[in-house]
């Protein structure tokens, strides 16, 4: 099976060629050492200066930090940082991409995340009017420059150099708010986690010709690269997403939903305690049922009990399961659990052609201090996740996931009308989570709040490196 890696990826395209063309962190994550991140949200002050700066960021000259290609193996090369550049639709216009090209971008991208708020469940406290950092100012949010580094000092230095490019005349931050994140580790296990305490980064789509399926078995088949890159067959037979024109601009680009997601860890913890008090259920079991995995990352489908999860030490096999056989009614892993909702794997779902077509590449790093109920100084500090969700079609993947599956439970009639218990737009007046049990009535949990609140976001386009050179060469 390993022979497939490095062969043809899509058509006659070879993997080494493709990796030279792409921005990094899309097909493959940067890796464990890059544990600090900053997202610079910028507005273009001077189009010509911005194009000059962008040109310097892809020309290989070390005077300005270069956008990281997917080819560069950061760890081996000893680079202490990585750099990505994403453009909003307004940003592409601001740097002089001609209208004839702008007209070829898909409508959800041209309208932007703010205009799609209701579709995404960004209402109430999550509505754009409550967003931070100027992210709701669609006309001024032009670029999201993301810098990953080994340390905060590495990131600070590269951000300074980016802002100083083209004599500092190119762009400026849209607000004083900073979007800084840092990987969290479980103090006991040392495992990488999110604020809610779950192990992070376990399940991601893997691609034909890119990943070696034998490295970490997964019952899901490898996905075509067209799930995330423009210019290749999508996961839906006979459907190909439009490639923005000219071809050099669109091909090998990807769209990104950048999200600032606040996480109410105290509220989540309170809910687990309430369930324990009301129903006598252990908190960790409730946490596992809501998510579909134990906080260690072990899936309920492989370890239905805490004891089995405790004894499970085969990290390579954390994705080697499906819902097709053995658990059609969700007795082991509830149908409404977070991971089953957002990735039904091979299970029978209402939209029969969509099991694998809505896959997203998720690259997220937490922000804010780790939650400690005994630390009064940080207990109420903002915390959450700075997330990038890469896909070839924001409408068919990211939005469809949010609209149909996370917030409606449309994929299975037994959960239709309920929202994802962890990331859904829940309201205590209507929220419901059904927990089927063997030989008895399901345990129905109600009255829980929204644990993840949108604090901001933007739809961006991450062009290939040739596309960045093309943009830098525009004269408009």
């Amino acid at each position: 099976m390993g022979g497939a890696v490095g062969g043809a990826v899509g058509g006659a395209v070879s993997l080494p060629w493709l990796m030279r063309e792409l921005q990094g962190n899309i097909l493959r994550a940067y890796g464990e050492r890059y544990r600090v991140v900053r997202h610079l949200v910028l507005t273009v002050d001077d189009a010509a200066a911005a194009r000059l700066a962008l040109g310097l960021m892809v020309d290989g000259d070390r005077s300005t930090p270069d956008v990281t290609s997917a080819e560069r193996p950061p760890r081996e090369a000893g680079y202490r940082w990585c750099l990505n550049v994403g453009f909003t639709f307004a940003g592409l216009a601001a740097v002089g991409v001609p209208a004839s090209s702008l007209d070829t971008f898909p409508p959800e991208f041209t309208k932007g995340m703010v205009a799609r708020a209701a579709r995404l469940g960004d209402v109430g406290d999550s509505a754009p009017g409550r967003w931070v950092g100027g992210l709701a100012d669609t006309q001024r949010v032009h670029l999201v420059v993301t810098v990953h580094g080994w340390t905060r000092a590495d990131v600070d230095q590269i951000c300074e150099e980016v802002m100083a490019a083209a004599r500092g005349r190119a762009f400026s931050p849209i607000s004083d708010d900073v979007f800084d994140g840092e990987v969290l580790y479980d103090p006991v296990t040392g495992r990488r986690i999110v604020h809610f305490g779950y192990a992070d980064g376990i399940s991601q789509p893997r691609f034909l010709g890119v990943h070696d399926p034998s490295a970490a078995p997964d019952q899901l088949p490898l996905a075509p690269v067209g799930v995330v890159l423009l210019g290749y067959p999508s996961a839906i037979p006979s459907v190909n997403w439009n490639v923005p024109q000219p071809d050099v601009l669109g091909r090998n680009g990807t769209f990104n939903a950048f999200r600032v997601l606040g996480q109410d860890v105290a509220g989540f913890d309170d809910f687990l305690a309430r369930v324990e008090g009301d129903h006598g259920v252990d908190r960790e079991l409730t946490a596992a049922k809501l998510c579909g995995r134990w906080r260690s990352g072990v899936p309920l489908s492989l370890a239905p009990t805490a004891a089995e999860a405790e004894a499970f030490h085969e990290d390579r096999h954390l994705n080697e399961f499906d819902y097709v056989d053995g658990d059609p009614d969700g007795v082991v892993c509830p149908i409404g659990a977070h991971i089953r909702r957002t990735n039904p794997r091979g299970a029978h779902i209402v939209q029969r052609s969509s099991n694998r077509s809505r896959a997203l590449i998720r690259r997220g790093i937490p922000y804010g201090p780790r939650w400690d109920p005994d630390d009064a100084a940080t207990r109420d500090a903002p915390r959450g996740l700075l997330g990038n969700f890469f896909c070839a079609s924001l409408a068919a993947q990211f939005e469809a996931m949010q609209y149909d599956w996370v917030n409606l439970g449309f994929q299975d009639p037994r959960i239709t009308g309920t929202n994802d218990p962890m990331i859904g737009a829940n309201d205590p007046a209507t929220s419901t989570f059904s927990w089927p049990r063997q030989g008895t009535e399901p345990l129905v949990l109600r009255g829980f709040k929204r644990f993840v609140v949108t604090r901001g976001g933007a739809y961006t386009f991450l062009p290939s490196l040739p596309a960045l050179r093309w943009i830098a060469g525009q004269t408009g």
Partner: protein, 223 residues
């Protein structure tokens, strides 16, 4: 006598004309004003509701009105033959979309119409049915004026936009969804009607708030 009778008849006709609510001076004046308001307001669309109530996302109508290239009966006959040929693909495909309550093709006064009720997001619905009956729609494009580019599956965004333009405007079911400014309700409604010749006004649902799959599941006929 003949002339007197003709004058009386004309006078009676004029009085009927004045009494006809559809031709009353106020209606005519309203039409003139609507044309003016429409120019002032620019293109209006129905605002999107921000509610996340599940029933907002279920049982949404689509009323696709596609003018035929030719009105002749022989042409309509060819259309009918093509739809018969594609019936299996269309039925199996819509079944696989999984979110369609019903869908039907009608020919009405020179238009091929596809009326359907579906669950979920409009764009998602169109994308899903391109995925399963895109080839049938490629053939339909041969019969309609100003067709969408084909194959539909390679021009997804253009096809979705084309469908949106040919979908009859659905006037909101609540007046407050037209505008929160009820003083402006009549004016905005008139402008919407002026700008959208095909409009759906009102809908009844016998089982509101249920998806196709929930109904099929409840009936025990699989979903």
């Amino acid at each position: 006598m003949g002339q007197v009778s003709a004058v009386r008849e004309a006078w009676a006709g004029f009085r009927r004309y004045l009494r006809d609510p559809m031709r009353a001076p106020s209606v005519m004046l309203g039409s003139v004003l609507t044309a003016f308001w429409s120019r002032v307001e620019g293109p209006l669309d129905v605002p999107q509701r921000s509610s996340l109530a599940p029933s907002d996302n279920l049982q949404t109508p689509m009323n696709l009105v596609m003018p035929l290239r030719f009105p002749q009966v022989a042409f309509r006959g060819q259309l009918g033959k093509m739809l018969f040929q594609e019936t299996d693909q269309i039925l199996v495909g819509l079944n696989n979309v999984g979110t369609v309550h019903f869908a039907r093709f009608d020919v009405i006064e020179g238009n091929l119409c596809m009326f359907s009720i579906f669950d979920g997001d409009f764009n998602g619905y169109i994308r899903d049915f391109i995925g399963v009956i895109g080839q049938a729609f490629d053939r339909i494009m041969d019969f309609v004026e100003d067709p969408a580019p084909t194959p539909c599956g390679s021009h997804v965004d253009e096809f979705i936009e084309w469908v949106r333009l040919h979908d009859a405007l659905q006037l909101p079911e609540l007046a407050t969804d037209v505008t929160s400014d009820l003083v402006a309700l009549q004016r905005r409604t008139l402008v919407l009607l002026h700008q959208h010749p095909n409009v759906q006004m009102g809908i009844y649902r016998g089982y509101p708030g249920y998806s196709v799959a929930q109904i099929r599941d409840g009936l025990g006929i699989g979903w």
